[in-house]
C-alpha cells in the first residue's frame, strides 16, 4: 500500500499555492519532515449578515447609508444642538420610528437566515475516526476528515473520492446544485484506495493529499465538488476526504440591493437638499441684512443667533410601508400559486418591487428553470416512417426494412445502466410502467429517454450481463448481443458507436449522433426523408439524433480492433489517435433513421419568453449544459427563432481562428446588419435578429485581462457591442461564478441596464445575488436559490406575471409615490419660504406645530400610501395581453428629470397660489361680518387647509382606480383633517403652554369669504394639472402609460 495518495511535487516556492492534507489528521512522525500545520476555515456556513453583537452598529450604519435617513439624522442633531423654530421631536420621532421598524424587519430576516444556516450546519455527517464511524455535525468537519456519504445524501463539503461500496470503485453523482446538470456523472475512486471496504481499513490509512488552494473556477479546480451531490448507489460507502471551502467559493456575499427608483429618488433628494440649503443661506443672509438696518434694534429682534433648519420630509415612512405592504400582493397572488408545490410566490426583499418593472436584461438558467429537466422520447423515424410510442399498439407498423435494426441499434448503442431498485426516485417515476423494480441511469438523460422510448415501442433493454447486452424484443424473446467495443461520445465528433456481435455471429457497428456528424458518413439509406424529418423536429425544438449502422465483416472487425487497441495503448497523443481510429472505423454508414427527444419545457416557457421579448427585455440563457442541448432548448422556447441568425463564439471556433478574428468578424456582421436593419425597418419588413452562442471557455478568454491592457478592454467592449445587438444570447458551459461575471459585465456596461437573474439551483445563486433583481424558482433542486433570491416563484411562467403585471404596477405606483412625495412637500414648504419675506426672515412658522408634525404623518400620508398599494392604471388583463406596455415604463421613464421638473413646478405653482391667495385675501382687510380681525395663525391655517385639500385632491385626480378603499382613505383623511382641526382648536389644551390655535379654525370657517377663497384656491391649484392631463390624453401620440383605448375598453 502506498503511503501517499499523491506525491508531493510542489516546490517550496509555491508552498502557498498548494495545500497538503493529512488524511484522518494522521500527521507524520515528528522530525520526519518539517511539518507546518496549516489552518483552514471550518465548515460552517454563514449566509447571515449580522451577529448578535454587531447587529446594532452594523445595521445603523447600513441604514444611514441611505441619504434620506442620513439627512434626517443631521437635521435631528442640528435641532438638538441649536434653538430652532420647530422642536427636534418633529423630525426625530419619525426618524426613530423608521429606523426601528427597518431594524426590526432586517433583524427578523437575518434571524431566519441564521436559522437556515443553523439547520445546514447542524446536519449530521458520518466521519471515520480511528476506524469507527462517528456521527458529527456538518460544521465540525475539518480538512482531512474521512467522511462517509450514503446514497441520496448531500455532500457536506468538497471531497475526494476514496472508495465506494461498488466493486469497480465508481459512484454516480449529480451536480445539479453546481452547474445545474441533473444527469448522473460517474466518478472513480482514487485507484490506491479503491480497494478499501471497511471503516477499519480506511481508518488505518496514512496518506497526504497534495492539492491546489481552492479556486473559484469550477472546471479548472481539480477537486472542487459540491455539497449537493447524490450518490446513487445502494448502500454505497463513498468515502471522501473533506476540505473547505466548498461551494461558498462559487458564492457571492449578500449585499444590500438598491433599486433604480431609490437611486433617482436620492438624486432628487440631493437637488432638494441643495435648494433648501441655499434657501436657508439666503434666508439667513437676508435676515441679518434686515436686522442690520439701525431701526431694527428692538430687543426681541436680535436675541440670539440661529441657524435656519430645513423642514424635514417626514414621510419616508409611507415609502417604506408601501414597499413592505406592497410585496404582500405578490405573496397573495393566486395565479402564482402552484398546486403541485403547494406554494405561492415569496418575497424576500421588499426593497426591489418597483425594479421588477424596470428589467431590461433577463438572465435565466436553463435546466429546471426553462425546462422541466425531464427528457421524453417523442418519436422516431425509420426510413422516413414515423413511429410514436403508444400509437404503435394500433398495429400500423409499416414494415420498413431497417425497422428491427433501428430499434436494436437504439437498444444497444448507449451507455445506459440498469438499476434495480425498490424505492423509486421521484423524478424517474412514471417512466417505467411495466417494471417498477428497475430503471435506467446514465450520464446522458437523452440516452435514458431513448431507451425508455424503445421500451415503449416494444424493445426493452434488460441490461449488460457478462458483456452480453440483452434485449427483450417485441415478441418477448430475449436477444443477446456481445458488446465488443464502445466508441465513446465526445463533443467534437458528436456521435458514439458500439460494435456488437449478434447471436448469429454478425459484427455490427451502430452509431448515433448529431445529424451533422452522421449524414456526411452515410453511403446509403433514405437520406432525404430522414433529413426532412430531422429538420422539422429541430425546428420544433426537439433534440434529434440520427442512427446509422455498418455491418462489419470479420476482417474489417479485426482491423477496427487493431486500430482501437493500438490507439488505446498509445502513451502519447492518445486522444488524438483515438479520434483518428474512430474516424477510420465510423464510415460507410447505412442510415437507419432519426429520433426526437424532448427536454420538456416548463409550462408556458415559450410564451413567457415571447412576452418578455415583446416587453423589450433581452433574454440570456446561462447554462452549464452542452451547447447543443442548450441551443435546442433555446429554439424550443422561442428564444431563437427560425429567422434568428446564430453567431457562435465557442471554443471550437476560436480554436480554428484566433479569438481576435472571430470577435471582429462577428462585430462586423452585427454592425453591418444594423445599418441594414435600419434600411429594412423603413421598408417595414421583418428584420433579422441575431442570437449569440458563447461558451464558458471563450467567455473567460474574452474577459481575461490581457497583457496589453488595450486589447482586453477592446474584447470586452466588442463583446458588449455584439451582445447589445443580439436579441437573445445563449451562454453555455458556465461555471456559477461566470454566470455572475456575465451579469456583472452587463450591469457595468455604459447604459447600466437593470438586470434580472432567474434560476432554481445552488449554481444560480451567485448570479441571483449579482443581478439587480434575483428570482429563485422553488424547484426540485432544493431551496438554495429561492432562499438567496429576492423573489421566489414556483414556476418560470410566473415570471411573466411578476414582471409585466406586478412589476409594472409597482413601478407606476412607486413613481407616483416619489413624485407626489416631492410635490406635496414643495407645496408644504414653499409657502413657508415665501412667508419669510413678510416676517423679517425670522423663521416664523406659517403653520401651527401640530400641523407641521401631522402633515406628513397623518393628513396626507394615507391616501398616497393606499394609492401606491391599489392603484391600477390599466387592468391586469391588458397588461398581460399586451406586453409592449412594459416598454412605456422602461428606463425609469416616470422618474426622469422632466417629469420631476413638472411635478416640482406644479408644487411651486400651487404653493404660490396658496400663499398669495391667502395674502391678498388678508391684505389689510377683515373678512368677518363682525369686523373682527384674524391673526397670523388664521392666515397659516387658511393656507394649510387649502394645502391639505389641494394635495389630497390632486391625488384623487391621479387615481384611475377608485376602489372603496380609495374613497374611504381620500375622503376620510380630509374629514380627519377637519375633525382634528376642530378638536385642536376647540379646547384649551391644558398640557400646552400656548393656545395659539384656540378657536382659530372655527373662526375661519365662520367666515364666508374664507370658504369662498378656499374653494377658489383649490380650483386654481388643480387647474393646470387637469389641463395637462386632458391635453396629454387628447394628443394621440402622448407618452402616457395608459392609452385611453385600453382603458375605455374596460
Amino acid at each position: 500500500m502506498h503511503p501517499l495518495l499523491f506525491l508531493q511535487c510542489a516546490g517550496a516556492e509555491n508552498w502557498v499555492d498548494n495545500r497538503t492534507v493529512y488524511i484522518g489528521h494522521k500527521e507524520p512522525p515528528p522530525g520526519a519532515e518539517a511539518y507546518i500545520p496549516q489552518r483552514y476555515p471550518d465548515n460552517r456556513i454563514v449566509s447571515s449578515k449580522y451577529t448578535f453583537w454587531n447587529f446594532v452598529p452594523k445595521n445603523l450604519f447600513e441604514q444611514f447609508r441611505r441619504i434620506a435617513n442620513f439627512y434626517f439624522l443631521v437635521i435631528f442633531l442640528v435641532q438638538l444642538i441649536i434653538d430652532t423654530p420647530t422642536s427636534p421631536i418633529t423630525s426625530g420621532l419619525p426618524l426613530f420610528f423608521v429606523i426601528t421598524v427597518t431594524a426590526i424587519k432586517q433583524g427578523y430576516e437575518d434571524w431566519l437566515r441564521h436559522k437556515a444556516d443553523c439547520s445546514i450546519n447542524e446536519s449530521p455527517v458520518d466521519v471515520v475516526q480511528q476506524g469507527k464511524v462517528v456521527r458529527t455535525q456538518s460544521y465540525k468537519l475539518r480538512v482531512g476528515d474521512v467522511v462517509v456519504v450514503r446514497e441520496d445524501e448531500t455532500f457536506p463539503c468538497d471531497l475526494i473520492f476514496l472508495s465506494s461500496s461498488r466493486h469497480d470503485g465508481t459512484c454516480y453523482v449529480t451536480t445539479t446544485s453546481l452547474d445545474g446538470e441533473s444527469s448522473h456523472k460517474t466518478y472513480y475512486a482514487v485507484p490506491d484506495t479503491m480497494a478499501f471496504r471497511t471503516e477499519q481499513e480506511v481508518g488505518s490509512l496514512h496518506a497526504t493529499i497534495e492539492c491546489e488552494q481552492p479556486q473559484p473556477d469550477l472546471y479548472k479546480s481539480v477537486y472542487t465538488c459540491s455539497p449537493k451531490i447524490f450518490v446513487f448507489l445502494p448502500s454505497a460507502v463513498a468515502v471522501y476526504t473533506g476540505w473547505t471551502p466548498r461551494w461558498r467559493f462559487n458564492y457571492q456575499s449578500k449585499s444590500q440591493k438598491r433599486s433604480a427608483v431609490e437611486k433617482s429618488m436620492n438624486a432628487f433628494l440631493i437637488v432638494y437638499l441643495c435648494i433648501l440649503i441655499s434657501k436657508a443661506v439666503i434666508n439667513t443672509v437676508l435676515k441679518y441684512a434686515w436686522q442690520w438696518s439701525p431701526d431694527r434694534d428692538e430687543p426681541w429682534y436680535n436675541h440670539r443667533t440661529e441657524i435656519e433648519v430645513i423642514r424635514a420630509f417626514t414621510d419616508f415612512l409611507a415609502f417604506m410601508m408601501q414597499k413592505f405592504l406592497g410585496s404582500y400582493f405578490i405573496t397573495w397572488d393566486e395565479e402564482m400559486y402552484d398546486e403541485e408545490l403547494g406554494e405561492g410566490a415569496q418575497v424576500n426583499t421588499s426593497d426591489l418591487n418597483e425594479e421588477l418593472g424596470q428589467v431590461e436584461y433577463v438572465f435565466t438558467d436553463k435546466t429546471g428553470t426553462l425546462t422541466e429537466n425531464n427528457m421524453e422520447f417523442i418519436e422516431c423515424c425509420v426510413d422516413g416512417n414515423v413511429y410514436i410510442p403508444h400509437a404503435i399498439c394500433n398495429g400500423q407498423i409499416l414494415s420498413a426494412e431497417h425497422e428491427d435494426l433501428f430499434f436494436r441499434a437504439l437498444c444497444l448503442c448507449h451507455t445506459v445502466q440498469v438499476k434495480e431498485e425498490e424505492t423509486v426516485d421521484g423524478i424517474k417515476r412514471g417512466i417505467h410502467q411495466g417494471k417498477p423494480t428497475s430503471f435506467y441511469i446514465s450520464s446522458s438523460p437523452d440516452e435514458v429517454a431513448l431507451v425508455e422510448g424503445m421500451k415503449r415501442l416494444g424493445y426493452t433493454y434488460l441490461g449488460l450481463k457478462d458483456n452480453y447486452m440483452e434485449i427483450l424484443n417485441k415478441d418477448d424473446e430475449i436477444e443477446r448481443f456481445e458488446l465488443l467495443h464502445v466508441l465513446n461520445f465526445d463533443s467534437v465528433r458528436r456521435r458514439m458507436s458500439v460494435i456488437v456481435k449478434s447471436s448469429s455471429g454478425e459484427y455490427l457497428l451502430f452509431c448515433k449522433g448529431a445529424d451533422s456528424s452522421i449524414f456526411p458518413r452515410v453511403v446509403s439509406g433514405k437520406l432525404e426523408q430522414v433529413k426532412a424529418r430531422v429538420e422539422l423536429n429541430a425546428v420544433e425544438g426537439l433534440r434529434t439524433l440520427c442512427v446509422a449502422y455498418r455491418s462489419l465483416s470479420e476482417s474489417e472487425y479485426v482491423e477496427a480492433c487493431h486500430h482501437l487497441t493500438e490507439a488505446k495503448l498509445a502513451l502519447q497523443d492518445r486522444e488524438q489517435r483515438l479520434a483518428q481510429a474512430y474516424d477510420i472505423i465510423e464510415r460507410d454508414f447505412v442510415l437507419l433513421g432519426a429520433t426526437a427527444v424532448e427536454d420538456r419545457l416548463q409550462e408556458k416557457a415559450a410564451d413567457t419568453i415571447e412576452s418578455l421579448h415583446k416587453a423589450g427585455m433581452k433574454v440570456w440563457v446561462l447554462t452549464g449544459d452542452k451547447m447543443e442541448t442548450a441551443a435546442a432548448t433555446c429554439y424550443a422556447s422561442k428564444l431563437f427563432r427560425r429567422t434568428t441568425q446564430i453567431l457562435e463564439l465557442t471554443k471550437k471556433r476560436t480554436e480554428e481562428q484566433s479569438l481576435h478574428d472571430v470577435m471582429f468578424e462577428l462585430n462586423r456582421t452585427v454592425l453591418s446588419n444594423r445599418s441594414l436593419k435600419i434600411l429594412i425597418q423603413q421598408l417595414s419588413v421583418d428584420c433579422l435578429d441575431f442570437g449569440l452562442i458563447i461558451d464558458g471557455a471563450t467567455l473567460s478568454a474574452v474577459l481575461k485581462p490581457n497583457a496589453d491592457g488595450s486589447g482586453h478592454r477592446n474584447y470586452r467592449e466588442i463583446f458588449l457591442e455584439i451582445c447589445r445587438n443580439c436579441s437573445a444570447v445563449l451562454c453555455c458551459r458556465m461555471a456559477p461564478l461566470q454566470k455572475a461575471q456575465i451579469v456583472k459585465l452587463i450591469k457595468a456596461s455604459k447604459e447600466h441596464p437593470i438586470t434580472l437573474a432567474i434560476g432554481d439551483g445552488a449554481n444560480d445563486v451567485s448570479m441571483i445575488l449579482e443581478a439587480h433583481v434575483g428570482i429563485g424558482i422553488m424547484g426540485k433542486e432544493g431551496r438554495q436559490a429561492a432562499r438567496n433570491s429576492d423573489y421566489a416563484i414556483p414556476k418560470f411562467k410566473h415570471l411573466k406575471k411578476i414582471l409585466l403585471v406586478h412589476g409594472h404596477y409597482y413601478y407606476i405606483r412607486i413613481a407616483e409615490l416619489v413624485q407626489y412625495f416631492f410635490y406635496k412637500n414643495v407645496c408644504f414648504i414653499f409657502p413657508q419660504f415665501l412667508y419669510q419675506f413678510f416676517c423679517g426672515f425670522s423663521q416664523q412658522p406659517l403653520y401651527d406645530t401640530a400641523y407641521l408634525t401631522l402633515y406628513n404623518i397623518s393628513f396626507t400620508s394615507l391616501p398616497i400610501l393606499l394609492y401606491s398599494l391599489v392603484e391600477k392604471h390599466v387592468t391586469m388583463e391588458t397588461l398581460k395581453r399586451d406586453p409592449s406596455l412594459y416598454r412605456d415604463i422602461a428606463k425609469n421613464s416616470l422618474l426622469r428629470w422632466p417629469v420631476f421638473l413638472y411635478w416640482t413646478c406644479l408644487g411651486v405653482f400651487d404653493a404660490v397660489v396658496f400663499f398669495f391667495g391667502a395674502y391678498f385675501l388678508f391684505d389689510n382687510t377683515t373678512f368677518t361680518s363682525n369686523g373682527q380681525m384674524f391673526g397670523n395663525w388664521t392666515f397659516g391655517t387658511l393656507v394649510f387647509t387649502v394645502l391639505v385639500f389641494t394635495v389630497t385632491l390632486k391625488l384623487a385626480l391621479d387615481t384611475h382606480h377608485w376602489t372603496w378603499i380609495n374613497h374611504f382613505v381620500i375622503w376620510g383623511s380630509l374629514l380627519f383633517y377637519v375633525i382634528f382641526s376642530l378638536l385642536w382648536g376647540g379646547i384649551i389644551w391644558p398640557f400646552l403652554n400656548y393656545q395659539r390655535m384656540y378657536y382659530v379654525f372655527m373662526q375661519m370657517l365662520s367666515s364666508g369669504p374664507a370658504w369662498l377663497s378656499i374653494i377658489l384656491l383649490i380650483t386654481v391649484s388643480l387647474l393646470p394639472d387637469v389641463i395637462k392631463k386632458v391635453l396629454c390624453r387628447a394628443m394621440p401620440d402622448s407618452l402616457t402609460t395608459s392609452p385611453n383605448v385600453t382603458l375605455t375598453k374596460n
Binding site: 436675541h303 398546486e339 403547494g342 400509437a391 385675501l921 369686523g931 393656545q995 375605455t1048
Partner: protein, 369 residues
Amino acid sequence: MMASSYNAKEEDGHHSGSASHGGAAVVKSKKPDNTAFKQQRLPAWQPILTAGTVLPAFFVIGLIFIPIGIGLYVTSNNIKEFEIDYTGVDMNSACYSCAKNFSWNSTTSCLCTVDFTLEQPFESNVFMYYGLSNFYQNHRRYVKSRDDSQLNGDMSALTNPSKECEPYRMSEGLPIAPCGAIANSLFNDTLKLYYLEANGTRNEIPLVKKGIAWWTDKHVKFRNPGGNANLTAVFQATSKPVNWRNPVYELDQDPENNGFINEDFIVWMRTAALPTFRKLYRIIQKKSSTMPTLPSGKYVLDITYNYPVLSFDGRKRMILSTISWMGGKNPFLGIAYITVGSICFFLGVVLLIIHHKYDTRSTGADIPN
C-alpha cells in the same frame, strides 16, 4: 395518438388529484385567499379625465364662478372705507411734532388733531380700525413672546411667567404681568372722533369698545387671575410691562373690560399675519334707521399720541369702514372669481375644439383599420 393523449390525461389527473389529497391540510393554509383585495380585483370606478368628461366641469365652474365673482365684486364696491394716516412724518401734518418728540419714556402724552371730510355717508355700522405698517408682529421671537397660561389666569404663571417672555419677563425683580414683547408693545394711542357740524360744534361720536375681540378670546382664552374683582390686589406682586404707563389693572374702569380681559389688549395680543395690518379699535353703532351712522361732512380725529412708530419707519392709520356679509372692502376675491371663472369658460371652449378635432381624427384613423 389517441392513446397517448388519453394516457397523459390520466396521468395528469391522477397526479394533481393525489397532490391535492395529500397536501390538502397543509396546502390550504399556504394557498393565498381568493379575495378581491388580495388578488387586486376590487371593484373600482375608473374615471378618465378626457376632454369629453372635463368639458362640462369647466363650463359649470365657469358658470358658477363668474356670478359669484360679480356678486363679490359688487358687494366689495358698495363697502365704504375711509383711511387716514396720522403718523406725522410730513412737516405739515398735525401730528408731526408729536411724532418727532415722542419716545417710549415720555411721561406726558402728546395730543394732536386731524381733520378730515367724508364725501359719502356711511350708512350701516361703521368699524373703526387702527392700522400699523412695517410693524412685524409676525416676527418669530415676537410671536412667541407671550405666556398664554398667565393670560388665562393661571396663578403660578402670574408669579413665574414662561421663559418665552424674555427679555420682558421680570422687571426690577418682579414678574411682569402681562409678560412678553407683544404685551409690552401694546398699542396705546387713544382715538376720539367728532362730527364737525356746520355751526362748528364738535359732536362726539360714541365709540363702542365692546365686541371688538373674539368672543372666545374674551371669555375663555383670556381670564383675570382670581376673577375680575379686586384686580389691584391680585396684581400686587407683579410689575407692569416696561413700556406701559399704567399697570394692567388700570386699563379700564369697567371691571368687565379690565385686566387681561381688556378688549383692546386682547385684540393686540392676536398677532397679525403681515407687517401691514389693521386692528379693530371701536365700533360705531347705527342709531336709527333713518340717519346714516356717519353722515357726510367734516370730522375731527383727536389723537392721544402715545405710540412711536418712526423709530422703525412705521406708519399709523385710522380706518373707518362699513362691513358686508363678506367682511371689509376687498375687491381681490371678486376679481379672482371672475378671472378664474372666465379662464375655465375659455378653457372649456378650447377643449371643446380640441375634443372635437381629436374625435374626428380618431374616428378617421379607425376607419382604415
